[in-house]
Symmetry: D3
Subunit: 135 residues, 6 copies
Amino acid sequence: MLSRLLAALKGTEVSAHCDLPCGIYDPAQARIEAESVKAIITKYHASDDDAFKTRAVLIKEQRSDLVKHHLWVLWTDYFKPPHFEKYPELHTLFNDATKLAGASGTKGVLDVAVADQLLAKIDEISKIFWETKQA
Amino acid sequence: MLSRLLAALKGTEVSAHCDLPCGIYDPAQARIEAESVKAIITKYHASDDDAFKTRAVLIKEQRSDLVKHHLWVLWTDYFKPPHFEKYPELHTLFNDATKLAGASGTKGVLDVAVADQLLAKIDEISKIFWETKQA
Amino acid sequence: MLSRLLAALKGTEVSAHCDLPCGIYDPAQARIEAESVKAIITKYHASDDDAFKTRAVLIKEQRSDLVKHHLWVLWTDYFKPPHFEKYPELHTLFNDATKLAGASGTKGVLDVAVADQLLAKIDEISKIFWETKQA
Amino acid sequence: MLSRLLAALKGTEVSAHCDLPCGIYDPAQARIEAESVKAIITKYHASDDDAFKTRAVLIKEQRSDLVKHHLWVLWTDYFKPPHFEKYPELHTLFNDATKLAGASGTKGVLDVAVADQLLAKIDEISKIFWETKQA
Amino acid sequence: MLSRLLAALKGTEVSAHCDLPCGIYDPAQARIEAESVKAIITKYHASDDDAFKTRAVLIKEQRSDLVKHHLWVLWTDYFKPPHFEKYPELHTLFNDATKLAGASGTKGVLDVAVADQLLAKIDEISKIFWETKQA
Amino acid sequence: MLSRLLAALKGTEVSAHCDLPCGIYDPAQARIEAESVKAIITKYHASDDDAFKTRAVLIKEQRSDLVKHHLWVLWTDYFKPPHFEKYPELHTLFNDATKLAGASGTKGVLDVAVADQLLAKIDEISKIFWETKQA
């Protein structure tokens, strides 16, 4: 978190994505969607309205998809061979994180703990991401 | 900027969007896309490859669209009547900002200054947004 | 309604949207989606098939999204500062209408009356739209 | 055109599309996109700005796609076997119309005459559509 | 099936779609989505988890849509007037097949037999498709 | 190729994708899009029509995106930890393949040789995929 704040202070916090490439990448995009997924799960359990629950399930599906998409973009488009050499755990980290947003993760379950695991993985990725940006 | 850092320190920085609503909103989503638009314009001028320039124009179109979308979501889904009462300039601010990402803005021109104007409008919106979150 | 018919007779009825801009705008696009939303709500209540009701909820979500999108396009892309000066209620009208197609409107409820309120707002917008086209 | 006006006066003009089905169909959706395609072609020829021309080509592609989509929906979702029996030309009409919005039509060319042919086909479809609605 | 294998052996099996046109078309695209629809229906009936059933319904909707889309592309973009002359049943075949993936087909029902009818129609189309490719 | 034919004969060839999961996966989806990308590049060079070249670039962008998407789905959704143990090269293979469909690959260049490299990577993935299906 500190490195993020420092990055922000230096005006370099900006962030993440198109495949021109524009050079702007930011794990915050995945994190925001994952926070949404977590909030949706919480709201699902707090409601007893069938139609609301249906909406929660379908929106959770879309937001989980966005988490996967933003992570895939970082894995393929931002990270380069030297990064994978320096951080050999990166492949598994991304594979686990995207699985945690899929059928065996936040798409398939309604468990806040799983959303927290997903957020924790995104934090790990984010930490490495900002280290590579500082380098 | 300071209010953002404070919000971040308090762990409330997360933010922005689905229409369940999940309650997670963050102007960073619009800002990230607008930074991308600015970077694309810069890269467009630095290149003399026709196909690259074509790609830059089409990706700029998509990213400008995303800016508009993220701003519209904030305007309709996050901001409520009491906000519009307290900040009577909000409607015009959002209308100007979304126009700056449209045909008369970053979609229609290749001028870094216009991208900077768009970013400045998003900053104004962001400042108001975080004030309302603190309230 | 009469102004629409007159516009149609004069062959100027055509209508609404891309951000080239092509200059073709038409509130009918939002209205058609809103009519669909209303019909979906009616069909939801007439059915006792769970899977059908799930489909109704998810399609209502998509169609409400389209209503919002078409209205946002009119608000940002078609209407210009002189229009907002002449019709100072326009901002609130669009904000209310898009909210009526969102979480607190047709996305979040299954009430035909809300769909009717949405349609009424679209009619108000449509009336102003066609006045500005005549001008 | 007259039948459309009469339909409008009777309040039955509304129109076209989701696959619940909601029962709301309207060829106006295809026509609006086709009008846009025609306007884009005209603007393409009136401009000598390379980036604008690139944008025109890509937006024309999207709008032509929408024309095809709206027509396919009418062909598959609205029209039923008895209609195809009564109007045996319908299949060819739709196939021709969608081809006119494709690679050999408005996607592939920059000819206003082709956009006019597309619009004429949509008018033929529209005429039949409104006849079946009156029936 | 044999003709497909022969085509594969000759290295001509490749396959289906954009509207440049790239000239690559393949009914396998529609078939894969239809197989998915069938598997989803089977899984729906094997589950007693409400949220899973909701997900099954919404994903079945999306996959059925993809079936329709891939078939429409073949009908409009691949098949030409001489094909329709040689195979006069083609129009009806495509209209029936896309209806079988719509509201009166796999979108609207949860019946494996309907998915099988859809797959059978796609096989008929596929057989004709590969005959025309051999010609 | 032989294993594919055998799989086809056994009726197990079907394949590829949604995240219910439906259990249907097939590398053919990525391959078809990559074949399209290759064909688009060839047609780009054969044409001297500016608008056609613009269309080729934008459609190549979309089809390359689809290649990336289909591959990401296989990497995250189909392949499981035991596969990654048995085939330790899989992570790099997928990362290389998706990069070959990105900015440094078929999105960024107009070189048939790069499309061929992409197709070769997809073939390697496909071979492993079918081995795991036989297992």
